[in-house]
Symmetry: C2
Subunit: 238 residues, 2 copies
DNA sequence: ACGCAAACCAATGTCAGAATGGTTCGGGAC
DNA sequence: GTCCCGAACCATTCTGACATTGGTTTGCGT
């Protein structure tokens, strides 16, 4: 597996050139919307080299995390997607918003706790930016979008693949369900301010590496969301 | 939707006869291993009635929870399965046992808390039985099986469809992963006793409707499992 | 009014063929 | 010997056409 890297001069030149070309092809954004790269055979023909050389280049890019490959499917730029769509569609039809919120109350505090243990300074900065976007005085739909992005970022930073998949499932159910469309449109200024404050409390705890604090802050935030939801549903069905 | 149930006499007789026949067909266990019933068209031909009548019979059985149907697939006896297999297979290959255990530490305490709020007396009885089975002096494999059944039962009693799916996903990853085969085979008598005691603490809290207590007890139990796992892995990779 | 029969719709399973990444082998250049 | 190229083969995935199945509508008859 561990190959020694002493190529003959001309080989170094050709493989390096191909690597640079493919890398530029990826970073230039000259790809279809789905990020699909040409097939290995096409790339080999285009650069006038063999498939084996192309594969070594792609191996490097894959190890670098720039691309991902799947046999029978193709080579793609970016990160491999979490294939939770099918499962979410299965659950979404009979998804009671309160059930979904209860699940969020179970999972997301734990994610915040993990996030507090693993977030880098850069991560915290990105969370701050997202919270700031969500707090801008814009329409409710956009605010909801940035709020979702913030919660997703926390889940990603938590750094546990299994938990991330579970969260992605939950997130898709939440977004895909019909009740989302008829949800509480009118956020009062007070609740908006409360949510912003809670977002900052969560991020403060994460920045301070305070796992328990992040857990509690996230739980309080979701509890507020849940209460708001329950009120706006008229409390008719519980 | 809400149909009045005053059929003409001869109709009552025929549909009732068909209903009884299909019900008996299901309960007699005269079905393929997958629980598949004949198609609606076949049933109609067999009983000499129309599809509409058969559909009304199946509607009743479905509302009763005895069967489930899926367009393009068929009619089946029993409960619809949670289709988490594909997702689990996707994650399992690169499933670090410690990552899985961390996810369990995030999800299962919350499930135990929900379980404490919703378990009936009958539920508690069943949990006691499972815990007792797991504590019998049998080989490690069988004990692990009953332990899994106990945790699954807690997740089911928690009564949240979304959380149950997330747990099912986690459970399949845990069971399907290769590392399961080379796991810590030898449970010492002390750890075995500890696990039994922790199981009983969890169930005690559930019986007492003590959500926070169930949460903590489950967390402590999984923490012990995690510690044991970390030790048996030689602590080489963390 | 109700059941029956037929037809159509939408979703699913099945099957064969093509495309693709993963792998192995032998030949040739240095 | 080492490395690349070309070719072939394998396993997985996608695509399309077709049959099957539950879901639904329509018309006829009792």
């Amino acid at each position: 597996m561990a190959q020694h890297l002493n190529y003959a001069p001309e080989n170094v030149e050709s493989t390096d050139a191909a690597l640079a070309a493919v890398r530029q092809m990826i970073e230039a954004g000259k790809l279809p919307a789905d990020g699909r790269l040409p097939t290995e055979r096409e790339l080999a023909a285009e650069f006038g080299c063999g498939r084996r050389t192309i594969r070594r280049v792609l191996d490097a890019l894959e190890a670098e995390g720039l691309i991902w490959r799947k046999q029978g499917k193709g080579t793609f730029a970016g990160q491999p997607p979490d294939p939770t769509g099918a499962l979410a569609a299965e659950i979404a039809p009979d998804a009671d918003p309160l059930v979904v919120m209860e699940a969020r109350l179970c999972i997301e505090p734990a994610l915040a706790e993990l996030c507090a243990l693993r977030a880098t300074g850069e991560d915290v900065l990105r969370l701050r930016q997202l919270a700031q976007r969500a707090s801008q005085p814009i329409d409710a739909d956009t605010a909801e979008l940035w709020d979702g992005a913030l919660h997703r970022a926390i889940a990603r930073i938590a750094g546990n693949r299994v938990m991330l998949t579970a969260f992605a499932l939950l997130d898709e159910v939440r977004m895909g369900a019909d009740w989302q469309k008829q949800r509480h449109r009118a956020r009062s200024a007070e609740t908006k301010a409360l949510y912003d404050q809670q977002h900052n409390q969560i991020i403060d705890a994460i920045q301070a590496r305070d796992g328990a604090g992040a857990f509690q802050a996230m739980r309080a935030h979701l509890q507020a969301l849940s209460d708001n939801l329950r009120v706006s549903m008229g409390e008719a069905d519980r």
